[in-house]
């Protein structure tokens, strides 16, 4: 399995405050990797650096062997990286259909786009029911399905998910976790998952990195981390 993403010694600052101080991580093809850690530890900053939404101060980011740091977000999306941003961020006054088609903005083959649309609607039947509804009028869980579906419309090779369980009803968290596993398996998409629900993240990923204040504190196989004392204490709140 080759490396799809190599994130090496990255430093990122917001004005004069650091968010990442020398973070390195990798994602292999077909893998699901989780990033866990407290609020403000820098998890989301890693995703923003990968997509080019934030410029990094130093370090290098390679995707499929090519350097991508410094590129415009649109070029990075085109290369095959899609991101589900935190807080859902649907286009509220567009219909579900138009939201999904926006996901395929960088693609031009109409037949292939139609195929992806079918795949997404098959995966999230609720979106089919709401197809012509304005996205802003849907429930939080439905909106979360929509933004995941929208990201899949780009036909990504690497999918970045920022807090997909945040603000979603507990019952739906299970559904979302299941669909992430299914997407990773069926669509052969590598996944980099940022989650404050550490237990869920560790259960559905193969490897994980734990962050504290802009640096990686621990990393390893998710199954091992789930049993690790320090992870138990710091990220899982003690109880099993």
């Amino acid at each position: 399995m080759g490396e799809i993403l190599n994130f090496a010694n990255v430093e990122l600052y917001y004005d004069h405050v650091y968010a990442l101080k020398g973070v390195s991580l990798t994602v292999s093809e077909g893998e699901t990797v989780a990033l866990i850690g407290a609020n403000g530890a820098g998890k989301s900053s890693i995703l923003r650096a990968i997509t080019g939404l934030r410029k990094i101060r130093s370090g290098e980011i390679h995707y499929e062997g090519k350097r991508i740091d410094g590129l415009d977000p649109s070029a990075i999306v085109k290369a095959g990286i899609a991101m589900v941003p935190e807080g859902r961020r649907v286009f509220p006054y567009m219909t579900v259909r138009d939201n999904l088609l926006m996901g395929a903005f960088t693609r031009s083959d109409k037949a292939e786009i139609a195929g992806s649309l079918e795949m997404v609607l098959g995966r999230f039947p609720r979106l089919k029911e709401r197809f012509s509804q304005a996205a802003g009028t849907m429930s939080g869980g439905e909106q979360q399905m929509l933004v995941i579906g929208r990201a899949l419309m780009a036909k990504p090779k690497l999918l970045l998910l920022d807090e997909p369980s945040l603000g979603v009803a507990p019952k739906l968290v299970q559904d979302i976790a299941r669909s992430i596993v299914a997407i990773n398996r069926d669509e052969r998409v590598s996944v980099l998952l940022v989650e404050q629900n550490s237990r869920m993240a560790l259960r559905i990923s193969q490897r994980a990195y734990a962050l504290t204040t802009g640096a990686i504190a621990l990393s390893g196989n998710s199954a091992d981390l789930l049993k690790d004392d320090r992870v138990q204490r710091l990220y899982l709140g003690g109880e099993l």
């Binding site: 999306v77 085109k78 899609a82 941003p85 961020r89 649907v90 286009f91 903005f105 960088t106 780009a154």
Partner: protein, 288 residues
């Protein structure tokens, strides 16, 4: 009464087209284009020169107004607004810049075209008159063209690729970037399109009311009024605001005639009350 409504409708179509350009730029960039009225005036003078002075067909004049203003808009965005937005930390910077572009265009227009009121030969002769409704044919043509442009703009925003990109940008800038929308490119297209609409209305109305270099400011104020009535950044709001202001003006000029020139005084006073009740206008939401 029918006459007043028809006049209001005719005026409203022009106003709506002006407001659409202004609201598009606001929705995309959060910039209030103070130079919108001046862009209208420039469009008017270009049509005056090509149709009135050179005697070329009116259609050619109208296209020239639109294209010239689209280029002016694109250049303004690329070299002025983009640089300032990228580098400034405060929102007032773009406000000052917008005001400066308005003064700049005022000066350029005065220099190139002088201070005289200019008119052009009628584009269509004759008047429709059935006893209780009087409407010159040229006004009808201009009114229908304005409505066609509004319809064209709505279809473009809804179904074209750039239209969808601009709507996405207006609704959620970050999410649009994550879809691969090139922000710089579509912001420039949006500014050019907004400026083009202003130029087209100027070109249309030179055929009816003529043009002079002093009306840029007042037109901008009217455009702000419409956008405030309808709700900033919303297509439906701009159209509603345009038609409402057109209708108010038409009714006011008839009903309040005996009190002198007070229509706009009444409109401004009413707007203050209205905005204190509904500060976001009729449809205060980011984009529809």
């Amino acid at each position: 009464m029918e006459q007043v409504i028809v006049n209001g409708f005719y005026l409203g179509a022009q106003y709506a087209l002006i407001a659409l350009g202004l609201t598009l730029i606001f929705a995309l960039m959060n910039v209030l284009n103070f130079a919108h009225g001046q862009m209208y005036v420039l469009g008017g003078f270009i049509s005056y020169t090509i149709y009135g002075k050179l005697g070329l067909p009116f259609v050619v004049a109208l296209i020239s107004s639109g294209v010239t203003l689209a280029i002016v808009g694109a250049l303004f965005e690329r070299f002025l607004f983009r640089t300032v937005i990228k580098r400034s930390l405060r929102e007032e910077s773009t406000m000052l810049l917008a005001a400066a572009t308005a003064f700049f265009l005022d000066a350029v227009i005065l220099l190139l075209f002088g201070e005289k009121q200019r008119g052009v030969p009628k584009i269509v002769k004759g008047v429709y008159n059935d006893g209780n409704l009087i409407m010159p044919y040229d006004r009808m043509v201009v009114g229908i063209l304005a409505i066609a442009f509004i319809a064209g703009f709505i279809l473009y925003m809804k179904y074209s690729r750039p239209g969808r990109a601009m709507r996405a940008l207006a609704q959620d800038r970050v999410a649009a970037q994550l879809m691969g929308v090139e922000v710089d490119r579509y912001t420039m297209i949006g500014f050019a399109l907004g400026a083009m609409l202003a130029g087209i209305v100027g070109g249309l109305l030179v055929a009816i009311t003529g043009i002079n270099s002093g009306i840029g400011g007042p037109i901008s104020i009217k455009a702000f009024l419409m956008v405030m009535i309808g709700g900033a950044g919303v297509v439906g709001g701009a159209i509603a605001g345009g038609f409402i202001l057109g209708m108010l003006e038409s009714v006011g000029l008839t009903v309040l005639r005996e009190f002198g020139d007070v229509t706009y005084l009444v409109i401004f006073a009413a707007l203050m009350v209205f905005l204190s009740i509904r500060p976001n206008g009729l449809m205060g939401k980011p984009w529809g």
